[in-house]
Symmetry: C2
Subunit: 148 residues, 2 copies
C-alpha cells in the first residue's frame, strides 16, 4: 500500500537506522559541496577548534534524509518538499559515529486539491545519544484523489 497524505496522523512516530559514517565519506561529500578544512583536511582539523574531522552539516542532513527515505518515503506518494524550519546542528558528526533518526508527525493540512502538507519533526542522534541534527521538514504528499 502506498502511503498518501491521509495516512499520516499527528503524533505518529518512527525510529530509523542505524547508519555508520566514515572519514572517507565525510571528506568525499565535503570536497564536492563544503570544502572547508574542518571537513576535508584531517591534519588541519586535528589542530583546529573541533580537534578532529567533522562532517559538513549538509552531509548530516543528507544522511538523515537517506534514513528517512529508506524508512518512510520509499513507499509513500511523495510530491517534494516545501522547506525546513528550525534546523539545528547541536553536536558535530564525526568519523565512526552511528546515526539513528527519530521522526514524528507534528502537523498535517491540505495544500491543494491534489496534495497535502505533512510536517515531520526529525531528530538525528549518535550512538552516544548526542543530537547532531534537529529540524522540521515540511513535505508534500499526494491525496488519494490525485490523478498521478
Amino acid at each position: 500500500m502506498v502511503r498518501h497524505y491521509e495516512d499520516f496522523a499527528v503524533g505518529e512516530s518512527w525510529t530509523f537506522g542505524t547508519r555508520r559514517v566514515t572519514a572517507d565519506e565525510i571528506q568525499d561529500f565535503a570536497r564536492k559541496y563544503d570544502p572547508q578544512s574542518m571537513h576535508v583536511d584531517s591534519e588541519a582539523a586535528s589542530e583546529g577548534p573541533f580537534e578532529g574531522l567533522i562532517a559538513s552539516g549538509w552531509h548530516t542532513a543528507a544522511l538523515s534524509t537517506r534514513l528517512l527515505v529508506d524508512g518512510l518515503f520509499e513507499d509513500a506518494a511523495g510530491r517534494g518538499g516545501l522547506g525546513v524550519d528550525d534546523l539545528e546542528w547541536r553536536t558535530p558528526l564525526r568519523p565512526g559515529d552511528e546515526l539513528t533518526v527519530d521522526v514524528e508527525v507534528v502537523n498535517t493540512e491540505p495544500f491543494d486539491d491534489d496534495r497535502g502538507q505533512v510536517d515531520l519533526a526529525v531528530r538525528t542522534t549518535t550512538q552516544e545519544d548526542d543530537e547532531v541534527l534537529s529540524m522540521v521538514v515540511k513535505g508534500l504528499f499526494a491525496r488519494r484523489n490525485d490523478g498521478h
Copy 2:
C-alpha cells in the same frame, strides 16, 4: 587577510556563481542520499507530477553551500554552523539549470569569548531567475582574539 566575525557588517552582500547542474550529478547525489524516483529515475520522473527529473532539495542546498564556501568562507575563520531558519524550496532545480547565489548579512552578534554569530540570508536562483532555494544560515566565525 582572513575574515573574522568583526569583518561582517549587516547589509553587506555578495553574488556568487554561476554553477551548471547536470542530470548525472542530480542522480548521483540522490542515489546516495535521497533515492526517490523523481530524483533518480528519468523515465518515471517524466511521467510523474514534476514532468521530468528534479534535484533533491538537499542537493540544491549543498550546491548553494559550495558557491558560498568558494566565494566567502574559503578565506574566513569559520567555526561551523549553528543551524538554518526558514529554508524554502520554491521551484525545483532541473538538469541544465545554472545557479547563482545572492548572500546578505542580516544579523551579527557575539556568541562567546572566542566566536561570533553571523546570520546570512541566502537566495539561490536559476538562469531564468526562478528561486530554487532561500534560507537564513546561522554561522559561527572566530573573533579576532580567538587563540586558534
